[in-house]
Symmetry: C2
DNA sequence: ATTTTCACTTTCAATTTGGAATCAAAAATA
DNA sequence: TATTTTTGATTCCAAATTGAAAGTGAAAAT
């Protein structure tokens, strides 16, 4: 499952080699929505990733250069994670998952998400620009 | 990992509950590119899915109504798999993975895929319409 | 000085995977 | 008609991955 053993030369397959699991894109999602996050912030998201899995995914995304890890300005034990351009460029794919989910999982998705998806329908470019800025 | 145990009400997380693995979207990919496929066709794709895993994924996608399974018109032991609208509607997300892969995995992706991604850049609507028809 | 917080790491049972072998029915071939 | 091959799976199992809980060590808060 490491990034240097792609199954084929297909870009879809290769993206799945990198991001095809249940957690990696949720880390990216949190950073798209919030700009920056700490380890604790990620742990507190609704899906409750285990700290072992979170540490693994953060390491992988850092190695892929999809995110960066910086020191907190005043607190020495806290680190700030942020997306790089490479990470931000996953936004278009993620946003299409939101659209699909909003269309086919209506009765299951939160009202907040529905409102977000509605904005997306009306102004995809604008929403994307805001997410990726 | 079943579709009736979502981790949260987030549409991204829920899509990953359904499609967040290394194989499911490759089955969808094959159907987007080829329109219809048999069990054997899927097995022969470059990534070489095992027949156990393929059977599992096909069952899941059928249960989700992302694809249908029909009898072959003349050969009783062959089945024809096709995407439903629900399955075709995954195309926009998949296509954005192609764009990402083409941008960040240049030296790894096939020339054929690069040509496809170039068309996508020039005419996303047209390419999508063709894929989803 | 002590307790709490934060960012991990360790451990390990349970789940999921990949790969090979096997199966039954239908089709093709001899 | 008999037998071989093809197709679409299923079975088996070792290896890899996951989830959950507990532990660690350093820094911050009390």
């Amino acid at each position: 499952m490491s990034e240097d053993s792609f199954r084929s030369t297909c870009p879809i397959s290769s993206c799945l080699d990198l991001y095809g699991d249940k957690w990696t894109l949720l880390v990216v999602r949190d950073l798209l929505y919030h700009g920056s996050r700490t380890f604790k912030d990620f742990l507190e998201s609704d899906e409750h990733i285990s700290s072992a899995r979170l540490a693994e995914r953060l390491k992988k995304l850092e190695r892929l250069e999809a995110l960066t890890k910086e020191n907190h300005p005043t607190n020495k034990k806290v680190f700030i994670y942020k997306l790089t351009q490479k990470g931000k460029d996953l936004a278009p794919a993620i946003v299409e998952l939101i659209a699909w989910g909003n269309k086919y999982l209506v009765e299951h998705v939160s009202e907040e998400s529905k409102a977000f998806a509605k904005n997306l329908e009306l102004n995809k470019e604008g929403v994307l620009k805001e997410l990726m800025k």
